[in-house]
Structures are given as C-alpha cells and as structure tokens.
Symmetry: C2
Subunit: 283 residues, 2 copies
C-alpha cells in the first residue's frame, strides 16, 4: 500500500481550490481561534470570524466525499466578561451553506490551563463540531470502543441458568432481553464526551491538541488508505498521526516555519507491505 502526504505552503483558501471535488474522507482541523495566534493569520476579530471562515468551509464542502466527515475543533474565548458568539453564528451559517450539523463532541481537558479569576473558573473543555454532507456517512464505531465498566465483570461474572433463560420472561428490564450478548462483551461504545489530557508530548513544539484527538477521529471516520485533510496544519499533528495510521493526508499551512518543519518530519510517500492483519486497517 502506498501512502501519500501532500503538504502545501500558502493560504488555505487559495490552496483548497487545487484540491479536487469529493476526494477527502475526513477534514480534521483546529483553525486559529478568533483573536488568538495573532502572529500567524493576523488575528481574526470575533466579529469578522464567520465571514473569514465561510469561504473556506465552502471549499471543504466541495472536496469532501459524500460519505466524509468534517470535525472542527474550536472554542470561543471570553471577551469583556462574555463568551463570544461567533461559533454559534458559524454553525448556523454553515448549515445554510449546506452542511449538516450532525453532532457536538466535548473534549474534556483533564489538565486544563491554570489560572484564577473572580468571575469564572478555568475552562476545561472544547467543542468538536461534527459536520457532514449527507445523513449517511462512514463511521467505524468498533475502532474506538473502550473497556466496559467494572460493574459488568462483577454483575455478569456468574450468571445463573435462570438468568440466561430470562429471555422468555417478558419483563422488559432490558437486561433480560439478550443477556447472551453481554456474556462475551468486554468493551462498550464510547459517548460524545472525550477525556483526554492536553499533554502534547511533542519533543519541543507546542501543538494545539494532543495526538490522541486526531487519532480518535481518524479511527472513527476513516480506514487505512483513506485521505485526511487539515487545512490549518500548524505543527502537523493531524498529518503525523495520519501517517502513522496509514492514511493519506493533505496539509496546508501559511507559515513557512511550520511548513518546513512538518515537511522534514513526514516523507511524501511511504510504502507499506501488504499485511493481512493490518493494525489500523479494517480487514
């Protein structure tokens, strides 16, 4: 299997025009938040954010496959003692553009930024907005299952014969139903709340998010050989993870410093021998 990584230096809106329609399986990105990272994109004012962002999502909508997903990591900051509303407005505007707002995941940052203020607590969560083109999209739920709670071990350890027969007793307790399903089960599906530390165990560079974050969504929404796009590449976490997971990736970055750094870390083409038990594939 051949995995490619296309890294572009330039403004994301311009570069996106070069990418063909319906060619991307997952867009995962964390754009510069309003008024943040002033040095890179010049610091977009909260009031201007929607107008600045919409032309870009227009292109993302075009390049995304019908079965693909767009995951947007973002969190509004506080301006004059209030949460900014530009993300709410962005969601409404993107729906008018044709996106479906499928879900909002919460990233709970277990070790969030420290600080103390008289009128608020530390902000320990960010939004992960899921958008789609269609109601039907690819989702590989089994890839992100988590160990089941301990109660299962304790409760289902020694089931009596009557418990197994309880199928018949129509007391819809839910548990009587298909108890046999539970006997073999040691994993549960996760929820829409993700518990991840913010730790960027990167060597030196500060990434906007930990590798676990793109990894989780790449596992969930793509399979090996698919294509992942990050139009605001930054230090390239998404692309590096995609490479490790044998997904093709496209990265766009406006700052040559970041661009060169990521370029030096990822080789544009990697060859993988066919393996019947592909760690990240779905065979």
């Amino acid at each position: 299997m051949e995995i490619k990584h296309d890294l572009y230096l330039g403004d994301c809106e311009e570069v996106l025009k070069k990418i063909p329609d319906n060619s991307v399986d997952l867009v995962f990105t964390s754009p510069p938040y309003a008024d943040q990272r002033k040095n890179t994109y010049g610091g977009i004012l909260p009031d201007d954010y929607v107008d600045w962002f919409l032309p870009k999502t227009e292109h993302m909508l075009r390049v995304l496959k019908p079965t693909g997903t767009f995951v947007l990591n973002i969190k509004e900051k506080v301006v004059k003692c209030e949460r900014s509303t530009y993300i709410l407005e962005l969601i409404l505007a993107m729906r008018k553009q044709g996106w479906l707002w499928t879900e909002e995941f919460i990233w709970h940052k277990k070790n969030c930024y420290p600080g103390k203020w008289p009128n608020r607590f530390r902000d320990a969560w960010e939004r992960l907005l899921q958008f789609n083109k269609n109601k039907k999209f690819n989702m590989y739920q089994e890839e992100v299952m988590v160990p089941m709670g301990d109660w299962a071990k304790i409760r289902l350890k020694n089931l009596s014969e009557t418990d197994k027969i309880r199928d018949e007793s129509k007391v819809g307790s839910g548990f009587g139903k298909n108890i046999s399903n539970w006997l073999t089960r040691d994993k549960a599906y996760p929820t829409n709340v993700l518990h991840l530390a913010t730790e960027c165990n990167n060597k030196n560079h500060s990434a906007a998010f930990p590798e676990d974050l793109p990894e989780w969504f790449i596992k969930l929404f793509t399979k090996a050989g698919d294509t992942v796009l990050d139009p605001f590449m930054g230090s390239g976490t998404t692309n590096i993870v995609a490479n490790r997971m044998r997904r093709n990736s496209i990265g766009i970055e406006i700052l040559s410093e970041y661009y060169e750094q990521v370029k030096s870390e990822i080789s544009p083409v990697e060859l993988y021998l066919f393996e019947s038990k592909d760690k990240y594939g779905h065979n």
Copy 2:
C-alpha cells in the same frame, strides 16, 4: 433566620408578573426541552421554542437582582440525524434582550441513556448556560472548592481498573505523577466541567436532574438567606435543595400534580436558630 418558600400553581409567564423587580439572586431551571415531555407539558416544537421562551426570560431579567445569575440547564435533541439549533438561536436572542452570556458549563452525565445507532454515540452531556445582567455578579468560589487531600485518597482507593485503563491509556501522562501534588494541597477550584451521575430513582419520584446540580450552583451563586427561583419547578428539586441550604425559594409549576406534591414536601416558612458555624452560610 426565617426562610420562606413561595410555590405558585400556574403558567410561569403569568406568575412571573407578580414577582417584584430585582428580587431574586439566582434563577436555576431546567425548562421542558423542545419536543420532550409531550405528555406532561405538551411538547414545544423546536422551531417555536425561541418564541415560546423569550417572553419568560424577559421577566426573569426583570426579577433578577443586578448581582444575580441565571443558570439554564438544557440540551438539544437530534432531529433527522442533526442536532437542533434552537439553543444557539436562543442564546443569540437572549443577548439581544439584554442578557450577558457569561459562561457555558458542561454537565457530564456519567450514566447516560444507553442505546446504539449507526451514526452516533450516546449523548453524555448537557449544557448549563450562565447568563447575567451585569459584568459584576456575586460568586462564592470558595464554597465549591474540591477538597483535594480527601478527594485524592478516596478517588485513588475507589478508582476502578477500567477507570485507570480508560483514563491513562495515553502516554505515561500522569496518573501516578500528580498524586504528590494532590496530597500537598488542601483544596482546588473546580473547572467548568461537572461530573455527576443522573439519579436513577428506583422509587416513583423522578427528577430531571440530581440534587447535586442545583446544590452546586446555589452554593456558588448565593449565600444563606438569598432567594432562588425555579420557574419550571417540576418535582421541586431546586426548591427542596434551597430549603435544605437555607435559601428562600420561589417555585412555579403549571401541573397541579407536581405542585401539590412539592407543596406537601416543603413548609412555607422555616425558622432557623442563629448558629455561629452555619453549615451553608458564609460567616
């Protein structure tokens, strides 16, 4: 100290008119969500929700003291494979009404509703939207501090194996690493993410939220003798907790069944002897 509880039977918009301006320290409520509770509250359509709710928040804005806070517990449901947007629109509309959207807390429901669908995971969080009249408002942060030493001991002892695996599956981040930090400090400020389980009452009596939820916000935003209002009282959790915490309360409920039940549980006036070490006061 004399604590009063005024319970009203009737439509919340009508009853609110009787309540004087600037008389309430905290509004904590969980209104019927759109399209939910059809059997009891008739079920407001998502498209009609903002228009239905705004006249009520207009009154809440009036009755709230300038230093007071409005906490709104709500979560949009899925309609045709998409999250409804009426809450986003409500926030924008309330700001035009004069509210400040100060913060959004997350209630992480550890035991959320089960189920499995091809295109989404279980919804494990709800919004707790904080609105204020002014940038300056009362906030008693010390009252909700988490006792670190004890918490760490208990937490570590009771920590299940799966918690360890689920949490720490990541880079050697630090489960053991931080223990020493916990032991040295007494208390820590919480964040804007609350971890509470929903109450699963085996009894007849069902509440929309656990008592811990209003308790936390009552501690945070009021002191003993202050006044708490819940315009959608339901089973009266907010008022019952307020009573226990020696806050005056006002409850409004449109269904006589709920109204009578709560009325039988709370006496309208309670007298408390002065105590120098008031468990819930701030002396």
